[in-house]
């Protein structure tokens, strides 16, 4: 029983971080109808940025995280201008392949620079005990940071002018343009925020898991599952989806072998796409 409880809490904590990675993906999809296949490599870039900033500049990982967020935002805007802008109204295949080419470029350069060997951040916040459950400090702080980021995103989307613009463009781009929303700038900003969230989640993950340049792929696939769970284009759904996925990953190993986790996840993914395409919390169609 203790084992199950520990797994549950662990899964829940990771779930928050999965959640912000998926929020980035779902925000981009919701605003511009583009599935960002460069999401995984950007998560990996977040991991390596934290690594480089802490080892070379000697920054504290959580301070470095702020820099990672800024870099992620800028990178996203650059990717939007170079690769996405021209294909935004083209058929899905074009935007999928455009973002996939960014994926190939990042992985190609990253492999040349870091090889595919595992890296590890020398960082620990010790353990803390809560009753019978022992938690890693870095995971608790990671989950708190993820919550903070979510709150920040919520505030930005609902309480600022640019946030309102983003929601307007997501709702109906043509109508938003008619009332004077600078849609191209808003699309670039949304893509930037989406990649920023991916980079942040990578940075947080790097504080407690070892990583390689290819590690982002796993989290990208998890983000797909979460995004579909929560409904494509729904950021709040993504956070809840992240928590559900974290819980599933925590529960399954107590009565099945861990290798069955991806089977369950992806079968669930396809079934939800088929029967509840607007997500678990979306309206029935």
């Amino acid at each position: 029983m203790d084992f199950l409880l520990a797994n549950l809490v662990d899964g829940l904590l990771i779930g928050f971080i999965y959640g912000i990675a998926a929020m980035g993906l779902t925000l981009i999809f919701g605003v511009m109808d583009v599935i960002n296949l460069a999401h995984g490599p950007i998560i990996a870039l977040g991991m390596f940025s934290i690594y480089l900033l802490t080892t070379m500049l000697g920054l504290h990982p959580y301070i470095a995280l702020i820099l990672v967020a800024v870099l992620g935002l800028l990178l996203g805007i650059v990717i939007y201008i170079v690769a996405v802008q021209r294909v935004i109204d083209a058929p899905h295949l074009s935007s999928l392949l455009a973002t996939f080419s960014v994926n190939m470029i990042i992985i190609g350069l990253g492999t040349a620079a870091f090889s595919t060997a595992p890296y590890n951040l020398e960082f620990s916040l010790g353990k803390m005990s809560l009753g019978s459950v022992t938690l890693l400090g870095s995971r608790v702080v990671g989950a708190l940071v993820a919550l903070l980021v979510t709150a920040g995103l919520y505030f930005f989307l609902y309480r600022t002018r640019n946030g309102r613009y983003i929601r307007a463009v997501a709702n109906n781009r043509a109508a938003a343009e008619l009332v004077g929303v600078p849609s191209n700038r808003i699309l670039a900003l949304s893509f930037g925020i989406g990649t920023m969230l991916a980079a942040l989640s990578g940075g947080i993950i790097a504080t407690f898991f070892p990583f390689t340049i290819l590690a982002g792929g796993t989290y990208e696939l998890k983000s797909f599952v979460i995004v579909v769970l929560g409904g494509l284009g729904n950021p709040v759904g993504a956070l809840v989806g992240g928590l559900i996925l974290g819980l599933i990953e925590g529960i399954i190993p107590t009565f099945m072998e861990t290798t069955w986790v991806p089977v369950v996840e992806f079968v669930m993914f396809v079934l939800i796409l088929l029967f509840r395409p607007s997500g678990l919390f979306g309206a029935k169609q």
Binding site: F29, D33, I35, V82, A83, R86, V87, A90, P91, H92, L93, S94, L96, L97, A98, F100, S101, V102, N103, M104, I105, I106, I107, G108, L109, T111, A112, L221, F224, V225, V228, L232, E257, T259, W260, V261, P262, V263, E265, F266, V267, F269, V270, L273, L274, P277
Partner: protein, 323 residues
């Protein structure tokens, strides 16, 4: 005269495939035969993918799942049940077709990005599932006993035979692609691609047409899978269901020109050629993936209909010839 021109649309891609098959015979080098095998495999897979992707307009991102299913089916029958290569290939193709039929009934209801995501999910689910099934080797996979090659006169001869079968399958895939493109069934698919709702109004039974297009595009990858792993001698989950490779085939179709017969053939030759060059060139060796990414981006941004599509638009008189 008119018929001669029409048939050129088939002859041209067939000539490319024939040239690929004959190239190692004339050069006599074993290395060339390996390269030609890889390109012919790419031709067969890209042409099959084109039926669902190019003609019907459904982006099957995880199409490699059928290659893996056929590979595993054939390999299991050969290594555990002692079947020979021919029935094993047939079984691989049949199993892929059957799975495509059942899957297609369900996921072809989804459109656009949702369908693309579902195919990724199917491939990843299959990859994870196969790794958990012990009777087909689980995460380690299976090996072929070296003795099975004796039936074909030794390993060398089996390799030779696999090459010619591959060439035959590539030819077959081009013929199927042409037959679909010029048939009434194919016209229905093209109509679905342009506007599915309008096509239904005009009398195309879209769910059936889509399902059969999906099945048709799955059978040849299944056969190729069985043959490829027979030649390879072992099979593992990650070799059978590589998502990255799946996307490479989409790139080939795009590069050559989606929705044409010649396009995927040229795309496969071109992509493998570029890739081979990048992998061996001293400058690009380390960053070959990044260079390939830049090329892909340029294609997507500037010639979205591929080489054949670009020629057809630029020189309208070639439209009759380049199918």
């Amino acid at each position: 005269m008119k018929n001669w021109r029409n048939i050129l649309g088939l002859v041209l891609p067939l000539l490319v495939v024939a040239a690929l098959a004959l190239w190692p015979v004339f050069s006599g080098k074993a290395v060339d035969q390996e390269t030609a095998f890889t390109i012919l495999k790419a031709v067969a897979l890209a042409s099959s993918l084109n039926i669902i992707l190019g003609y019907t307009g459904y982006v099957s991102f995880g199409h490699i799942v059928f290659f893996g299913v056929g590979g595993y089916t054939g390999f299991y029958l050969m290594s555990q049940q002692g079947w020979s290569i021919w029935p094993a290939m047939a079984a691989g193709g049949a199993m892929s077709g059957l799975i495509a039929f059942l899957l297609g009934k369900a996921i072809l209801r989804l459109r656009g990005a949702y369908f693309a995501l579902a195919t990724i999910g199917v491939n990843q689910a299959m990859l994870a599932l196969v790794g958990n099934l012990d009777f087909i080797g689980g995460p380690i996979g299976m090996n072929l006993n070296f003795k099975v090659y004796k039936e074909y006169g030794g390993a060398q001869e089996a390799l030779q035979m696999a090459f010619y079968i591959m060439a035959g399958i590539a030819l077959l895939s081009v013929i199927v692609s042409y037959a679909v493109r010029t048939s009434k069934f194919g016209l229905g698919l093209l109509a679905i691609r342009e506007d599915e709702d309008a096509a239904e109004v005009m009398g195309v039974v879209a769910p059936n047409a889509k399902t059969w297009a999906y099945v048709l595009s799955a059978i040849i990858p299944g056969i190729v899978g069985a043959l490829f792993f027979f030649k390879n001698g072992n099979i593992e989950p990650h070799d059978a269901f590589p998502l990255h490779t799946s996307i490479e085939f989409i790139v080939m179709v795009m590069l050559g020109g989606q929705g044409t017969v010649l396009g995927p053939v040229l795309g496969a030759v071109g992509y493998q050629g570029i890739r081979g060059y990048l992998l061996t060139s001293p400058i690009f060796k380390n960053i070959q993936l990044a260079v390939a990414g830049v090329l892909l981006l340029l294609i997507v941004l500037f010639i979205p209909f591929g080489v054949v599509g670009w020629i057809r638009n630029r020189f309208p008189q070639t439209r009759r010839v380049l199918q």
